[in-house]
């Protein structure tokens, strides 16, 4: 009888532990960096420079959102961004891919525009700047083209 109680307790403990772990991973998986409810917009880049899912989105140096997905669309990169509902992005905002430091990870910087029109959920940030490929640039200015 006693042995049964011990095994039962251990088993229940493990089940509770696994449930907690599962809850934690689902919660984190949804990337609650946004905190409040968010909306999606997308932008097309000719070169993402290796931007990853979960990369940060900055405005004025402040982390405001996350990259949800990066897919290839007609040989260009279609990046879906998650932004908080309270953040309004103007129609002429520019999304650029920048590097943390000079050779660090890539992130997206959005500079707000001057248009009164706002980008709606599911809308597109039309103005984009691709990642600058440092090696290409160096080779271009050192060696030129054949």
């Amino acid at each position: 009888m006693k042995k049964f109680d011990l095994e039962l307790t251990v088993g229940l403990f493990i089940i509770v532990g696994v449930i907690c772990l599962g809850y934690l991973s689902i919660k984190l998986g949804k990337m609650e960096v946004v905190g409040e409810k968010g909306y999606e917009v997308y932008a097309v880049f000719s070169n993402t420079g290796g931007l990853k899912i979960g990369s940060s989105i900055d405005i004025a140096g402040v982390d405001v959102g996350r990259v949800k997905s990066v897919t290839l669309d007609n040989y260009e990169a279609r990046v879906v961004l998650i932004l908080p509902n309270s953040l309004k992005i103007q129609e002429d905002a520019i999304a650029s891919i920048k590097t943390k430091g000079l050779i660090g990870e890539k992130y997206i910087e959005i500079t707000p525009g001057g248009s009164e029109k706002l980008i709606q959920p599911g809308g597109r940030i039309r103005e984009t700047q691709p990642a600058i490929d440092l090696e290409d640039l160096i080779s271009k200015f050192v060696f030129g083209k054949i």
Binding site: Q90, G114, E127, I132, K140, G144, K145
Partner: protein
Amino acid sequence: MKLSYLYGWSVLLLFLLGVTVPVMAGEPEEKIKQTTDKILSILTDPALKSPSKEGERRKLIRSAVDERFDWEEMARRSLATHWAKRTPEEKKEFVHLFADLLEQVYMSKVEGYSGEKVRYEGERVDGDYAVVKVKIVTKKNRDIPVEYRLKKERGDWFVYDVSIEGVSLVNNYRIQFNSIISRSSYENLVKRLREKAELR
């Protein structure tokens, strides 16, 4: 009998529309070509080569650029979040100062033209917006990729941004203007632009 007559006319109309669309598709690139060719002809005109003709040459280049560049749109996009707070007079003044700033910064570069070739690498049209890709081939055989972003207004295409090597002109000034305004004031920015204009 009447119905087939209508049908015939509507088919003809649709056919004509279908035929005209491809012709329209080349429009933004055509507009860029026109302006570029105009400027190149001014730069290579022997009658305008002498230093005494500098003023006249610059005026001609500026008016060719004025035809294709939407200065107000570029100024608004560059001033960004600070645009809405400006009075109509301030906005008008800023557009002038902005256009003059760009003329000052880029005129000497344009005048340094020495036979570089311009290659047209295609365009992409998305409704009222278009991107025209161009490559400037320098003497040292380097390719400089340039992208013109145009918007259709009043039936014509106007440039609202230029990207060189993937770096946007509007974004460049947007960041600088924002920095100056947040560190000092809009009035200070205008003062600096006015001072620069006086140096011409």
